[in-house]
């Protein structure tokens, strides 16, 4: 098998996330964008790529069926509700999917935590479902891990994100409860603590604000210097796939037994301007995971 052959993909969803993904994957030689799937022929997202993608599909997932043999997998940027149906169809056709909705169907994956958290690993079947959880999940998870690994007796974990209102599309707005639920699930998985809380604030300020995520962890004890060092190191690792990820308030004792830290995510500025760090981090995670999953399974096939 030729390992340099591009990974053939479809993108389902033509909102903020789908169009940003499409723009980036068209410029990434590791991938070939075979199809972009929307639900309306007048979708501005489809129109944006009219001469760049082989199959611009306007009638939803049904429209993708005839082309399934042309793809290895798909990125689903629709909604948690629709993802279920999409995954049924893709799994049947032996395809992988990177789920960018908060559906919680697939295995949650934060690329930087692979090998650090037992359940965060690549799957051995090409037809696998990876959940990218949420933007707040991707931005908070590395810091939750850094602080948790320096703490003992974790009592409570809280992750709060504020994002520019302009960067929150209709699906995010409508499904804010699912965002919270999925983000909390990821925090629990990483910290091994069941008392978790996620908060999302949409900020309409002009000029738009950069995405910020604050992590608060209450624990019986914590080695603050270790938390600082681990957090600094992991931020550098995240920057390899999300260059705009940075620490703005390093771990400090917010109160007795509560450690707090804040990161900021500046977007790469592809389809939406640089304030859309929330799109950047979840899309970068999905692209990174798709590449690693395909490389992994190609090498598995070769064995």
């Amino acid at each position: 098998m030729n390992s340099t052959k591009p990974i053939r993909i479809a993108i389902i969803g033509t909102g903020n996330i789908g169009t940003d993904l499409c723009y980036r994957l068209l410029r990434d030689s590791r991938f070939k964008v075979v199809a972009l799937v929307g639900r309306r022929s007048d979708s501005p997202g489809l129109h944006m790529f009219k001469n760049e993608v082989d199959h611009l599909i306007a009638n939803g997932i049904e429209g993708l069926v005839p082309f399934l043999s042309e793809i290895d997998g798909a990125f689903d940027a629709t909604s948690a509700f629709d993802h279920k149906k999409h995954w049924d169809l893709l799994a049947n056709a032996q395809k992988w999917v990177m789920d960018l909705t908060p559906s919680k169907i697939g295995r949650p994956l934060v690329p930087v935590l692979m090998g650090k958290i037992p359940t965060m690993s690549l799957q051995n079947s090409i037809s696998s479902n990876y959940s990218m959880v949420t933007c707040g999940g991707q931005s908070s998870a590395p810091i939750v891990h850094a602080i948790s690994s320096a703490a003992t007796g974790i009592k409570e974990v809280e992750v709060s994100s504020s994002i520019a209102a302009l960067s929150a599309g209709p699906a995010t707005r409508l499904n804010i409860d699912q965002y919270i639920d999925s983000t909390e699930g990821l925090s629990a998985l990483i910290s091994d603590c069941n008392k978790v809380k996620a908060i999302l604030v949409l900020n309409p300020a002009e000029p738009p604000v950069m995405m910020r995520t604050t992590v608060n962890i209450s624990a019986a004890s914590c080695d603050l210097e270790q938390a600082k060092a681990t957090a600094a190191r992991i931020v550098t690792e995240v920057q390899k796939y999300v260059p705009g990820y940075e620490m703005v308030v390093e771990p400090y004792l917010q109160s007795l037994n509560t450690i707090s830290a804040t990161v900021k995510v500046t977007g790469a500025g592809f389809v939406l301007p640089d304030y859309a760090g929330n799109l950047d981090i979840i899309n970068s995670a999905a692209i990174e995971t798709a590449f690693l999953h395909n490389s992994h399974n190609r090498s598995v096939d070769q064995k």
Partner: protein, 332 residues
Amino acid sequence: MTDTRLYDVTLRDGNHALRHTLSSKFVSSYCEKADQSGVWAVEVGHGNGLGASSFLVGKSVESDMALLQAARESLKKTKLAVHSIPGFATIKRDLIPAIDFGVDIFRVATHVTEADVSQKHIEYLSNKNVIVHGVLMMSHMIDIKGLVVQAKLMKNYGASAIILMDSAGYFIPKEVSERVSAIKNELDIEVGFHAHNNLGLGVGNALSAIHEGASLIDGASMGLGAGAGNAQLENIVAAGSRELTLNPNVYSFLQMSKLVEEAYFDKLPRTTSSSTQSGLAGVFSGYAPQVIAISEELGMDTNTLWKEMANRKLVAGQESMIREIAQDLMNL
């Protein structure tokens, strides 16, 4: 205009002033008095509403449910209400238990430009046997035309009233009149108004809203609320009775305010140089405790911090940014 109903936020907005230390014991004794006063509803809970107890905006000493239970047991005639912000509260975790618990009124609140985030919550509640209002917070941060658009969204989702919150205490009476009448004229819906006292205009603004036909008027006993506090409920009643726009029993409201005065004298809000500055800047006055604490810790002037927060147009729920802005200003 005797159909004006008074909506008491002492036990919710007041929890900001108490740094979320409100006790179920106080809720019980207050609600017993409130139930005799003719006040239409009492709102209870964390200052930022259901499910908001957090490191970000402050932990409640007692849970939502403990406070609601105390209120439910004491309220027979007066309705029990909650404030709820999507992004903090979720349907499953917070709204469903509150419905099961017997809360009568749910006020689903968003920042004034983000009403669409309330869709699922308002739709869900409007199919239950409860009263649901849509609340537009920081309502000064949009023009009148935009305000009507946002109010209409909440109406279409199923809200039976739209409440305008002057969360920063920024409005002057003329601006209140213009906004209430715009919504009354363009949408066939009940309108409420929630005043803060940063510029000393809380009661005056509440009366302006009544004059334009707002029928749900928020107030807090002794003004117990975020920042410079809310419009003083007993003073709305007293002034309203002189104008003949309101006709409740002033004396029973004074008993409620006396209870607050005795329990929390040292926590009563007042207009200060800091709250006037935040009001003039149009910044959410609930940030005052953090602004004062962080300014003191880093040795900086509160007014400088308020001004920079205004420059960055901070909305409610962004407590974590205050420290960052302060550090930027101090070049830390």
